[in-house]
């Protein structure tokens, strides 16, 4: 479990280092991210070869102490986080956080970004490894607070306001979640994840689960509670948006998935409620994305839609002890994380080159489409769920399971959502694909930056994951239920 210890502790220590020595912050950040990547790969390899791992912290057994649990699902999530983290760190190294407004401010933003981002990374790792509901609540606190910081980092009026909304919504969600955990303790007398199956037997326990899901819905920006999200995600700096949209909401979605897996068939009603909300979110987010005027807002609303899709997948998944549909949700999360991070990084570069991010202004004459547009297009392919991306494999597994059940309504919703996502993403992609007379002969190419590497690398990873999706599926298959 050494890798797990490294994953859980290293980012926090590096965050302290970055906060203490602002000039070296970027170096701290990059080193920590790279070690983190290595550790997550090692952990995944260990799990592939040796099966699930479990460590009781302080050698106190589970109901008394806290356990770290590293199984296939956790490994997939950790690797996803590590990959996105590496790309984000690369992008932030180059930077680009905002339009330059003077060296001092930029360096201050740099110095602030790294500790917050490393704390986010540590919280995510701790969350994915944790086997204890209360411990997860604490990780959510770190996650929420540092995400607010990332939102507010640019210091613009809009972003501060969005950050405040985010803070308020996040705190409300935390409280609801905490209430749920407390009730769970009241119901079964313990708060480790192994207690979840016992929760469904009593009314109090189910009530607790309902509250926990409600708290997660706020944290994940599920449809009617997504009000804080588009503003927050679209007003933050590109690297921060990528983290927020690709990773932070995944924490809540991961826990929802984990709890539905643990709870088994017992919470049918709650799952249906989740699926309905997810479907509504998918349609609403797509509709708003179709109408968005700004690129960042479009991408942010597409996150609302994609979260809806993932929640739908979590909600409609059959009893995990008999069906593998939940793996579809995990794969969708994975592909969304990679593609959405790539997309936000690409949008950041596009906005940087153009000086604005209006969609109608993408038909420009003085600047040719560059690598960022290309990365955006690949990410779009992954988000729509076209083969050979992981998104496609996820949708395939999902539809396969749904056909098994004859759940035609869900299938129709899913396909409709797919078509809508193709529609709103093609608004952007078509403008990037067009060549021809409106590009002036002397049009310059955008400069090549490290940020491009990050976006392109993530996008191609999303593509490659579909080709090599046997690997995550094998990992997930080994997850003990």
């Amino acid at each position: 479990m050494t890798e797990a210890y490294v994953l859980a502790l290293l980012p926090f220590l590096a965050a302290v280092g970055a906060a203490a020595t602002p000039r070296m912050a970027a170096i701290w950040g990059l080193c920590a991210t790279l070690i983190n990547l290595g550790a997550s790969i090692l952990l995944a390899a260990r799990i592939l070869s040796g099966g699930d791992m479990r460590a009781d912290l302080g050698d106190w057994p589970a109901p008394l102490g806290i356990s770290l649990v590293a199984d296939g699902l956790a490994a997939v999530m950790l690797s996803m986080t590590a990959i996105v983290a590496t790309a984000v760190a690369l992008q932030a190294m180059s930077w680009g956080l905002v339009q330059p407004r003077g060296g001092q401010q930029r360096s201050r933003l740099q110095a602030g970004f790294w500790p917050l981002w490393l704390a986010t990374l540590g919280a995510l790792n701790a969350l994915f490894l944790s086997g204890d509901l209360f411990n997860i609540y604490v990780t959510f606190e770190i996650l929420g607070l540092s995400a607010v910081g990332l939102t507010a980092l640019t210091g613009s009026r809009n972003s501060l306001r969005a950050a405040f909304d985010y803070l308020a919504a996040g705190l409300a969600g935390s409280l609801v979640f905490l209430l749920g955990v407390a009730l769970a303790y009241a119901a079964v007398g313990r708060v480790d994840l192994a207690a979840v199956p016992a929760l469904v037997d009593t009314a109090t326990g189910r009530l607790a689960l309902g509250l926990i899901f409600a708290g997660l819905a706020v944290k994940a920006a599920l449809f009617p509670l997504h009000f804080w999200m588009p503003a927050a995600h679209s007003s933050a700096a590109p690297a921060a948006s990528a983290v927020l949209s690709a990773l932070v909401v995944k924490g809540a979605l991961y826990l929802a998935l984990r709890i539905t897996i643990e709870a088994g068939a017992g919470i049918e009603v709650l799952r249906i409620a989740l699926a309905v909300l997810g479907a509504a979110g998918m349609l609403w987010g797509s509709w708003m994305a179709l109408r968005a005027e700004r690129l960042k807002l479009l991408v942010a609303y597409s996150t609302v839609a994609q979260i809806g899709l993932i929640t739908l997948a979590i909600g409609v998944a059959d009893d995990p002890s008999t069906s593998a549909m939940w793996q579809a949700a995990a794969l969708l999360m994975l592909s969304h994380a990679l593609a959405k991070a790539a997309m936000f990084l690409a949008v950041g570069r596009i906005a940087e080159e153009l000086g604005h991010d209006r969609i109608s202004g993408l038909n420009r004459t003085d600047l040719r489409p560059g690598v960022a547009e290309f990365a955006f297009a690949i990410a779009a392919v992954s988000l729509i769920g076209l083969p050979p991306t992981a998104g496609f494999i996820g949708k395939w597994l999902l539809i396969d399971g749904l056909i098994d059940r004859g759940a035609w309504v869900w299938i129709a919703l899913l396909l409709g959502g797919t078509a809508l996502s193709a529609a709103y993403l093609s608004r952007v992609v078509s403008r990037c694909l067009r060549g021809g007379p409106h590009v002036a002969p002397g049009a310059r190419r955008p400069e090549w930056r490290t940020g491009d590497v990050a976006a392109l690398g993530l996008a191609t990873t999303a593509l490659a994951l579909g080709l090599g999706s046997a690997l995550p599926l094998t990992l997930l298959n080994g997850t003990a239920l």
């Binding site: 050494t2 210890y5 859980a8 502790l9 926090f12 220590l13 965050a15 302290v16 280092g17 906060a19 203490a20 460590a55 009781d56 912290l57 302080g58 050698d59 106190w60 109901p63 008394l64 102490g65 806290i66 770290l68 003077g102 001092q104 401010q105 201050r108 110095a111 602030g112 500790p115 917050l116 704390a119 540590g122 919280a123 701790a126 209360f134 411990n135 604490v138 990780t139 606190e141 770190i142 607070l145 540092s146 607010v148 910081g149 507010a152 980092l153 210091g155 501060l160 950050a163 009730l183 303790y185 009241a186 119901a187 079964v188 007398g189 313990r190 009593t202 009314a203 109090t204 009530l207």
Partner: protein, 300 residues
């Protein structure tokens, strides 16, 4: 008699909360909030949780109140918020229904929590005799480490987010003698709380809060100038040392025993006290910095 007291307390808490929500003046709202904090602390005493009561009084009511007061002073005056009756009525109704539901849920199943017997059983191995400290710094020390990380993130947020423009001015000649008495006392009390935490209610959080009170008195008296790079730097380093030392201790335990945060046999008390001592200082420094705001100079 005690039941009458409890009932009064409950009514009081709810009443003060309503007053805080509907007060039109910001200062009045913050005042009501602070009063509510103290009443809640009292209720923790009634519930037999003196540790929580201490923390609630010191942090929930005292320091949070101070932070809120400071923020309220800085906010510009806004036109009176007009809440629509519809939404107030709807929230009220839903809240009442929700509370009823929770009551029904809690009373429906009598439960025997698993923790107290478990903790009592293993308390001897934990190195301390106060069960709360044993849980916080031994059985579930990982939670506490992450909570320190929460404080750390809050600190970074305050340092980074560029909103701090006003700094607390020294409050004048009357505060200086006050501080001369209060600061040594707070150091003494916090040391006492820290040491006592091993076997009776107390511990790093409470001690840190008391120490932070002393620090605030120094700041308000103008004796601590955080604008000066040296003083600000020392305070910042102290604040950051909490997470750093706790994390390093975790690494060290993992190296020594193979279990993260598993203390070597027989040395648990020393480890716990050492960590708590650093945490006390770090928590105090963090709280002072949170109150003081950004210590960096804001570029014009």
């Amino acid at each position: 008699m005690t039941q009458l007291f409890d009932a009064l307390l409950a009514v009081g808490i709810v009443g003060v909360a309503v007053a805080a929500l509907f007060a039109n003046d910001r200062f009045a709202a913050v005042g009501a909030f602070m009063v509510m904090g103290f009443l809640v602390a009292l209720s923790w005493v009634r519930l037999g949780a003196p540790d929580v009561a201490l923390a609630e009084a010191a942090i929930g009511a005292g320091l949070t109140g101070a932070l809120l007061l400071r923020s309220a002073r800085r906010l510009r005056v806004e036109p009176k918020m007009c809440q629509s009756r519809w939404s107030v009525a709807a929230s009220g109704l839903i809240s009442i229904g929700f509370a009823g539901l929770l009551y029904a849920a809690i009373t429906s199943v009598p439960t025997v929590p698993a923790y107290p017997p478990l903790v009592a059983e293993r308390l001897g191995e934990s190195g301390v005799s106060n069960p709360v400290t044993a849980v916080l710094l031994n059985f579930r020390a990982w939670d506490t480490l992450l909570e320190i990380a929460v404080l750390f993130v809050a600190l970074v947020l305050v340092i980074v987010v560029p909103v701090s423009r006003v700094r607390p001015a020294p409050l004048g000649e009357m505060v200086v003698p006050f501080a001369k008495v209060v600061v040594p006392l707070s150091v003494l009390i916090s040391g006492h709380l820290l040491w006592q935490g091993a076997d009776a209610p107390g511990g790093a959080f409470q001690a840190g809060a008391v120490l932070a009170g002393g620090g605030l008195a120094l700041v308000l008296a103008g004796a601590m100038r955080l604008k000066k790079p040296l003083q600000g730097g020392i305070l910042r380093a102290t604040a950051l040392s909490g997470l750093a030392v706790f994390g390093a201790a975790a690494v060290a335990t993992a190296a020594l025993t193979g279990h993260l945060l598993g203390y070597p046999d027989g040395q648990a008390k020393i480890w716990i006290l050492g960590i708590e001592a650093v945490l006390t200082l770090a928590i105090a420094a963090t709280l002072v910095l949170l109150f003081h705001g950004s210590v960096r100079r804001v570029p014009k």
